[in-house]
């Protein structure tokens, strides 16, 4: 049993910290009453009674949850609630897949399934196979950090712009995280996004790109806004050609913040070329 020192804190701060840093998985619990006997001779009985009560909580929770589900006349609503608490109830992946298939035409069921904190890979595959047309669910799946690159790959070519952008937002930052077992599959998703590059991918894809040739291809297909130009100048793998294009762009200079980006690109080129190249004015 590993224990840490208890921490006194304010519930408001605890909530704020949880919301920002580590949102908790949705769970169900039961309220139970200890009914401590005040008689001094009852100390031993209090321990035994409380222990028995706590042991019975799991069964009572299951029973109360089943009673709660029985109140739903709408099947899709019932399944949505079951999937919402799937992790808390320890539903096995095949049970979750069965629930999804039972209501595969329901967008809300697919959405709840895709929004779980951890979506089992079996459920991810079932969602791709049966709910690809449910845009909100696919966007949630694409944004979910538990989504496997194998699942992200077909989503990178989804007809919805929002889904494709969510894939970029997911895989871009993950390219910087070492996940050896997933390296090849992540690379495949990343390369697919570069092949199908759209401006909305820029903030996620440009910072993660380490290949000068790929960066050049992205640059050629990017609209040269100050924001995009800033992303390129911040990437050390950006070629001198890219930096020089930023420096010489008249359009950027006319846009708010553009002059600063141009100056930064100019100073980077000057630094890189040093005494061995021309001075850029």
């Amino acid at each position: 049993m590993t224990a840490k020192t208890p921490r006194f804190e304010r519930a408001q701060d605890f909530l704020a910290q949880r919301v920002v840093v580590a949102p908790a998985a949705k769970r169900i619990g039961m309220q139970v009453h200890a009914r401590i006997d005040r008689m001094p001779s009852s100390a031993q009985a209090n321990t035994t009674g409380l222990r028995a009560l706590i042991r019975s909580v799991a069964a009572s929770t299951r029973q109360a949850f089943r009673a709660h589900l029985a109140e739903f006349s709408d099947n899709a609503q019932r399944i949505s609630v079951e999937l919402f608490y799937a992790q808390s109830n320890g539903l096995k992946p095949y049970e979750q897949v069965a629930l999804l298939l039972e209501a595969k035409d329901s967008p809300s069921v697919a959405d709840v399934a895709a929004r779980q904190r951890i979506v089992p890979i079996e459920l991810q595959r079932a969602l791709i196979a049966n709910s690809f047309h449910h845009v909100d669910a696919m966007q949630a799946l694409a944004a979910n950090l538990s989504t496997h690159p194998e699942t992200l790959l077909p989503l990178a070519a989804h007809p919805s712009w929002g889904v494709r952008t969510a894939v970029a937002a997911n895989i871009g930052p993950r390219m910087k995280v070492e996940e050896r077992a997933l390296a090849e599959e992540k690379e495949l998703v990343f390369n697919t996004l570069i092949e199908r590059y759209e401006d909305s991918f820029a903030p996620f894809i440009i910072p993660a790109c380490k290949d000068p040739e790929q960066l050049q291809r992205i640059f050629e297909r990017s609209s040269l806004t100050p924001l995009n130009a800033h992303l390129f100048t911040d990437n050390p793998y950006a070629s001198n050609d890219i930096l020089l294009s930023v420096v010489s762009s008249n359009t950027i200079g006319l846009l708010p913040g553009g002059q600063k980006v141009k100056e930064r690109a100019r100073s980077l080129v000057d630094n890189r070329l040093g005494d061995h190249g021309p001075t850029i004015n």
Partner: protein, 144 residues
Amino acid sequence: MIEHDVFEHAAKWVHARIPQEMANSVHIRELVDAFSALAAVTDAATSTFLIPDLFPDVALDVLYVHNIAGADKLTSVGDPAKNLFPGLSAIALTAIGTAVIREMETTNSDMVRHELDGAEIIVSRPSVRHLVLQATGTTLLTTK
């Protein structure tokens, strides 16, 4: 198992924070037993629960947040008659609750959180129950 020293330390911590009159009527040994008993009770937990009345005469909620990411805990059933757990006296529980309230007042806090093998035990004032439940993603069910 939690080291016995931890219970001793916790018992002394409580004893130092309760009014003298209460300290005279609850012995350190009784507090050590109570902490030891509470650990045995927690050890039996396999799902999330809230107890609003664990500390007699002290208004504090106790929320046990089960570690759903971890493997299912195996708890020994045994014969209850043969399981000799330390006693959990009402006066010891009241003393623990009183000390917790005193510390909350001193530190301007309204909850205390303890992590244990991925699970969490949160003791809080009933007025912040909604915040604690929201932070832990817990929905409480009741039986009809």
